[in-house]
Symmetry: C2
Subunit: 378 residues, 2 copies
């Protein structure tokens, strides 16, 4: 028997019940059935984002909703500050370039998150900046930015704050209204434990004012078209009906558990993984580590491809490698969605067994033991 466990930071494992829910017979979307489902999904998304703002559902990857939020919130005459600290942040810089959005890039060392002071200084240096784009949890480097702190800065200055929450929302604390975020984006295939194909964006009233002040240079990713269809809980273009069925189910599950419980469990698994790494002499890559996914440095003398291959083929744990400049240097373990403490202990055990086979010297079992102590709260 060899079970497969998906530990990549998206797609993540999908609960069996949700897989079967999505396998139910197809139904049409221009119906009361769909509108009722969408209305319930919308209410649950508001809970997920902790907001009273309108939450829009896109058929597309997270990048579709992110593009929609950025181009909508940055019409001509406005200037964006993009915090670039990883592969996904780089993509939002690309959106600005592609749509000729006036912007300035603030590059951080990979593995670092942005904080309020950094953003404040950058805004002091360029008073034209009236929009900030930041990745809450930069999946490529597993770095956490202080979104609550940054929102304090943008609020004080009357700027808009757009947050890529793709591996944050539903995994770590996200409080859109309390913090004052203007556009919060997420995707289906991360903490929402769904297949890829849906993206969500919650849009504040302040953001809508900005959006309505300009013209939107895209049809498919036009927030206004989505807002218009929300009057009747419709969709402007044919929605991914089967994925919406799944979304309703996972969002109900999350609501029933309570977000605080989900956040606490995600954090516990991250802390257990970091404790395990420390106990076997493996360093955490990110200097500002997030709790939704952990990147560990591959030790000297161990080949990263061999490590991941053995993890996957021998032990059934599919972890991710690095991207861009840190490809080959790190491996990443997801703590999002349908994964529990014992899956995580299994991943740590498989990691130990693999490192042992690949000749890395350490106190075998120390990682699992440290993780167990963390799980036990000791």
């Amino acid at each position: 028997m060899k079970k497969q466990r998906l530990f990549t930071p998206g797609p993540t494992m999908v609960p069996e019940d949700v897989l079967l829910e999505m396998a139910r017979p197809m139904q049409h979307h221009r119906t009361g059935w769909y509108r009722e489902m969408h209305e319930e999904v919308h209410g649950l998304l508001q809970y997920l984002f902790q907001t009273k703002a309108m939450c829009l559902t896109f058929t597309g990857s997270g990048s579709s909703a992110a593009e929609a939020a950025i181009v909508g919130c940055c019409p001509t005459g406005h200037k964006a500050l993009v915090i670039d600290n990883g592969k996904f942040a780089e993509r939002w810089v690309e959106v600005c370039k592609t749509f000729a959005i006036d912007h300035t890039v603030l590059s951080l060392e990979w593995g670092r998150g942005a904080d309020a002071n950094t953003v404040s200084s950058a805004m002091d240096a360029d008073p034209k900046i009236d929009t900030v784009i930041v990745v809450h949890s930069e999946t490529s480097t597993t770095a956490l930015s202080d979104v609550a702190g940054i929102a304090g800065v943008t609020r004080d200055r009357g700027a808009l704050l757009i947050v890529d929450g793709i591996t944050a929302v539903g995994a770590i604390p996200v409080k859109m209204d309390e913090w004052g975020i203007d556009a919060y984006i997420t995707g289906s295939q991360k903490a929402l434990m769904l297949p890829p194909g849906l993206a969500f964006v919650a849009v504040s009233d302040r953001a809508w004012e900005r959006i309505d002040s300009g013209t939107t240079p895209t049809l498919y990713n036009d927030l206004k078209a989505y807002r218009k269809s929300m009057k009747t809980f419709d969709a402007p273009y044919t929605p991914a009906v089967s994925l919406m069925r799944g979304a309703l189910l996972v969002l109900r599950i999350i609501k029933e558990r309570g977000l605080e419980d989900v956040w606490a469990e995600t954090s516990l698994m991250a802390r257990a993984t970091r404790a395990a790494a420390a106990a076997i002499g493996i360093a955490v890559f990110a200097k500002d580590p997030v709790d939704s996914v952990t990147a560990l440095l591959v030790p000297d003398g161990v080949a990263e491809p061999a490590l991941r291959k053995m993890m996957r083929e021998k032990h059934g744990f599919h972890i991710a490698g690095g991207q861009g400049e840190i490809k080959g240097k790190i491996v990443r373990f997801s703590h999002m969605g349908y994964v529990d403490a014992f899956d995580t202990l299994g991943a740590i055990s498989a990691f130990e067994l693999t490192l042992m086979e690949l000749g890395y010297k350490f106190d075998v079992g120390a990682g699992v033991a440290a993780a167990q102590r963390t799980l036990a709260g000791k």
Copy 2:
């Protein structure tokens, strides 16, 4: 026992095997597994479009791929002729407006398709036109355009031809290379009998020359980004993995049956439905009817909402109404995908039973009998 049968022209019914295939455990897309699947899907899409051209798969509704094709093929300095004969054609006019694409609109009576002469005359009248956008099967009016004939015109003049094949590809004859089409678009939830969420576009070499001559004003719907990722059968943004699993299965089924067989069966069901309508005194709406979906005029004295409601709630047949200016005047029956002759006979029978209950006078049974004769080839 009351079975539900989805006769809407998208989404259409999904085969049970395909539903279960998509319910298999989630796998990651940055893997050999995904690339092999994508490569096979790509080869099967080439068969589906009858082309050697590159076929790109988008995560989105058909509108995402259509937007990508239109904005890619119409950079600054080019002018498009958009044939407007229904709701979907109108959307491509909107794309041109949104992206400030130089264009002229040729409006046809709803229910009519475009032919070579119409396009030829329009191009004579405006020599700046070097791109034609036409809907092969206009789902909203069920009108068929003569894409083969129009392609003859665009080829002769060195213009590009972009075809919305959303309810054409996999349903009625589509021969991209033989005819000389430059961008052919389709979606997953029609003849491909999948849930909505994937869109496909096949792009000719001539189209790529045009696309490469300009800059693309969108990131998410940028054909170039998709082409780049095709070198390794990857995707530029996280693809809808579960839907791709389904796509592989349905495309294999279609290939195994053979397109000619699929086209013939679709046509037979359309002809049977039209024969049935004629036999009970009901008119076909479109003057140029397509075989993928049939629109029938609701007879005087019958309320369209009551008709569809009874069809659906009493008999389990979910048919579509009209859109835009013909809302309330027609009902539409799909012949695409996972629907057979006996489903179709059932729909005709339910239609007769419903009309009878709603007080329409006709020779009860004549519709089903006429359909049977058509099915028998008599």
